[in-house]
Amino acid sequence: MLHSQRRRKRKRDQGSVEMNLAAMLDMAFQLLSFFILTFRPTPIEGQLALNLPPPVPLTQVEPNQKSGDGIGDVLALETLHLHVTANDQGDVRELKVEANSIIQGGFDEGNVQRLDKKLQSLFAIQQIPYDRIQIAVDGRLRYGELMKIIDVCHRQRLPDGSNMQKISFTEVDSGTSAK
């Protein structure tokens, strides 16, 4: 008992060095304020990666060349063509898959499913191995509407089980597509 009292007294005599933490706390609070004020959580965005070389003619047709001789014909066989026209508001007016009109009017949820089913049925045909989709787009179409169409195309499954990756789009003159 006496021993412990003596030890405590010695400790008090030595005196501990106490740092003034207030200044450090001030600085820490300033740093914290800076980080809180500049903190802007960025939304997590998805990305659709595309490789877009500049448009070039697929084949240069020789004067004596017959139809079906070129590589372009093989590419054309594997390419599914979509043709989208828009109204003045930029909404989808008509969507054709090859020559067949699939959608008329806006591209709402029902029409999204209709296009999805149509593409699924086309991709299920083994005799025509489509491996790419080319979308001819009316220049007036809103970008958001086009992305919805690309989304449906991207969901399509190829025979090897992978998703459709080869999607390209070309701009069609509004005057031409309105006809």
Partner: protein, 152 residues
């Protein structure tokens, strides 16, 4: 006795300082200065199949373009003449590649263009920007979209 009365009660600031330092560490870890390059006023299209891509493999910075609903291109919050901006960026990149002795194959720049376009922008305006990028040697494009509708 009088000395004892004059003793002031000093709060122990150490736990408070610990807490503040932990908060600072958190904010330092999550801070993202690249966020300043994003125009958060744009309404990006919603694309269910859009997935975040890993772009950390490349040491070169991608070209980021924010396209508003009128087709204007914004870079770091400033509206720019996009034809001039893209051509300047391409020229700087080519110089950088030349200095690094990286070959440019077929005139194709090995850097992606990140396109953040407003969903209301007409396609011909977005396509015009893409064409200018193609003319300057860019071939890889990344179209940004939200994977689900965001609440604002």
């Amino acid at each position: 006795m009088s000395e004892h009365n004059s003793d002031r009660a000093e709060p122990n600031l150490t736990p408070l300082l610990d807490l503040v330092f932990q908060l600072i560490t958190f904010f330092m870890l999550v801070i993202n200065f690249k966020g300043a390059s994003l125009d958060l006023s744009l309404k990006l299209p919603v694309l269910g199949s859009a997935r975040p891509l890993d772009q950390r493999q490349s040491k070169l910075e991608p070209l980021l373009l924010n396209i508003d609903s009128e087709g204007g291109v914004h870079v770091y919050g400033r509206k720019v003449e996009f034809e001039q901006h893209i051509s300047n960026e391409a020229r700087i990149l080519k110089d950088q590649l030349r200095l690094n002795q990286t070959p440019i194959e077929n005139g194709e720049l090995p850097v992606p263009v990140i396109v953040r376009a407003d969903r209301g922008a007409p396609f011909h305006l977005v396509n015009h920007v893409l064409k200018v990028c193609q003319e300057n040697g860019y071939r890889q494009f990344s179209l940004n979209a939200m994977s689900r509708e965001e609440k604002r």
